[in-house]
Amino acid sequence: MNTLDVVVTSARMLTPFVRELTLSARSGRLPAFSSGSHIQLCMHTGQRELRNAYSLVGDPADTRNWRIAVRLADRSRGGSAFIHAGIESGMTLRVTPPVNLFALHPAAHRHVLIAGGIGITPMFAHVAELLRRRADFTLHYAYRAGTSDAYAKDLRERLGSRFHGYDAAVARFDALRTLASQPLGTHAYVCGPQSLIDAVHDAARTLGWHARRVHAEAFVAPAPGVPFTATLVRSERCVNVAADQSLLEALESAGIEVPNLCRGGVCGQCATRHLAGQIEHRDQFLSDDSRTTHLMPCVSRARGATLSLDL
């Protein structure tokens, strides 16, 4: 997979828990991107290489700088901790080119953006794009003031009545009420905790919306588990997978590239055939049928001590 080098030109805290990095190209130009895109940041923590996906926050029309905003996770595997404490201005980072799994739909008559906490990041780019298109849109942002309300002030000022903020201390976002009042050609976009995504899907279903009107992006990090060994049958190798490392990351650390896009078990790209061993499937892509032959190494693990892969 091709990567590019970027330089951290500045870093600032948006809240005590959210750090924003501004990146620029080390040489030449940054690739253009569409709003909703994310990049993967390659990080070395200790002896291990981690790769996490982060949405590009900035305006796609800004070809000189990229911005990502990262929330310090409660049980960080090291990625967000590294970004908060291990990265300084002037450092060079290796990233993958932008990929978009959360694009705006061209036929929407109105776009309803719904963000929870750090889920605001792809929405920030969407807002820039929608303003430029002079499109009909609204933004609903559920946050906790002071901790997970990055960009709220800026958005409120720029969007006026199109902005609806829900400070968890005093207000609750009501998915059903919000969607019920939308006209015929509306599409909804939701990014944030799984509970928010589920609430929007449930509301849409209750209101008789077709599922294709709702677009969701979950920020799923692979959950840790028990260490295990993966046997690669075709290449006759063994790869050890640590407790807080995903199988995909372990393969990549061993120099084995597996196609991947989302790092979170939703896009289907990294599907790999397994040949032996009990699998703990944690993805949201494969059918029960497919799981008998394939797994998603980005989030799934062995249930026991070993598994074998057709690699």
């Binding site: 091709n2 991107f33 080119p97």
Partner: protein, 348 residues
């Protein structure tokens, strides 16, 4: 190394088009085996042998001026061969950027691109064009960005909008199609667009191809080959002009097949466009007379076998029903050795 570009020849009327020995040698002969079978024959578009058609993503060859003259002729007489739906404007600019960057890098003797912010200056020495414009501002170009650059690049272009887990043909400039109409197909999904191709759907070819293309990443395009036959080196074999070229199919005989018939190979490049997230389909067509193909003994033998044993539905779809027998007969002279028998006619 600079590419030599001839003065313009014609793809209609007197058909003055001709391939040099060099052009014949680099022709992308599309058959790896003696029989032709559909497959998802997509591979990464990694640059291959210098001088080959696979070296650059957008290949310029000796026919550049000829092809661009033909492209202008078609578009000027039939503007509906260029379509850009309103939501594809960004993709149109993406396409212009991708092609200009590549042509300027790969053929610096012919093309130059200067960029200062969004003020761009494009120079095309082969067509004596100098254009200053503002990237993103349609009013500063004489055509839509897609049409503008398509009139200066060999091949046809289709831009596919990615949405709803599918790809939609929502823009294109198609002046040299192998019997398909952009005006009719515009707006179709991937499988709808490919509906006329026989047998492949049941094989799941398009399902797999679609999955692959949905995951295309910017900077990592893929390519595949497609092929058919054409009478005379006629580029514009569109349904729109079928009443002009269709009857040529009745003029082929076992005597003139080598000269009249042309093998028509499409080198398709599929690339992710960054600002729009659309997919570009570039369809680069190479024509070579069957007689010239047969100056290569191995190609001659293989071509004979492929056309002789081609399943009827595929032959019909590729429009060769009328002249197939004559052509296979003409090719027979290159395949006289033992072993040139119809394999599947032997009892098991």
């Amino acid at each position: 190394m600079s590419v030599l570009i001839k003065p313009a020849q014609t793809y209609r009327g007197d058909f003055s088009f001709a391939n040099s020995a060099k052009a014949i040698a680099r022709f992308p002969f599309p058959f790896p085996e003696d029989r032709y079978l559909y497959s998802v024959n997509i591979e990464p578009a990694t640059p291959r042998e210098p001088g080959s058609v696979y070296e650059h993503w957008f290949d310029i060859d000796e026919h550049y001026r000829s092809e661009m003259a033909e492209c202008s002729l078609v578009l000027d007489s039939d503007p509906r061969r260029a379509i850009v739906m309103p939501h594809m404007q960004t993709a149109s600019w993406d396409a212009l950027e991708l092609i200009m960057e590549n042509l300027a890098t790969d053929y610096p003797d012919w093309f130059t691109l200067e960029r200062e912010g969004d003020h761009w200056r494009w120079t095309n020495r082969a067509l004596e064009i100098e254009q200053s414009f503002r990237f993103g501002d349609e009013g500063t170009l004489p055509y839509s960005p897609l049409e503008y650059i398509a009139r200066q690049t060999q091949g046809d272009f289709a831009l596919l909008d990615q949405r709803d887990d599918d790809l939609y043909v929502d823009a294109g400039v198609v002046t040299g199609p192998a019997d398909w109409s952009l005006a009719f197909d515009a707006g179709m999904s991937f499988k709808q667009w490919h509906a006329p191709v026989p047998l492949a759907h049941q094989m799941g070819v398009f399902e797999r191809a679609l999955k692959y293309l949905l995951a295309l990443r910017a900077g990592a395009p893929v390519r595949r080959l497609n092929w058919t036959l054409t009478v005379h080196p006629r580029l514009d074999t569109s349904p729109e002009t079928y009443h002009l070229w269709g009857k040529d199919r009745g003029t082929v005989t076992a005597g003139n097949a080598g000269e009249q018939m042309y093998l028509r190979v499409e080198l398709q490049l599929m690339a992710r466009l960054p600002r729009s997230n659309a997919v570009m389909f570039s369809i680069r067509t190479y024509l070579c007379s069957v007689a010239d193909i047969c100056t290569n003994a191995a190609w001659a033998r293989r071509l004979h076998r492929v056309l002789r044993d081609l399943p009827d539905p595929i032959a019909d779809y590729k429009g060769m029903t009328r002249y197939r027998t004559a052509l296979v007969e003409w090719l027979g002279q290159f395949d006289r050795q033992a072993g040139g028998h119809l394999l599947h006619s032997k009892p098991c």
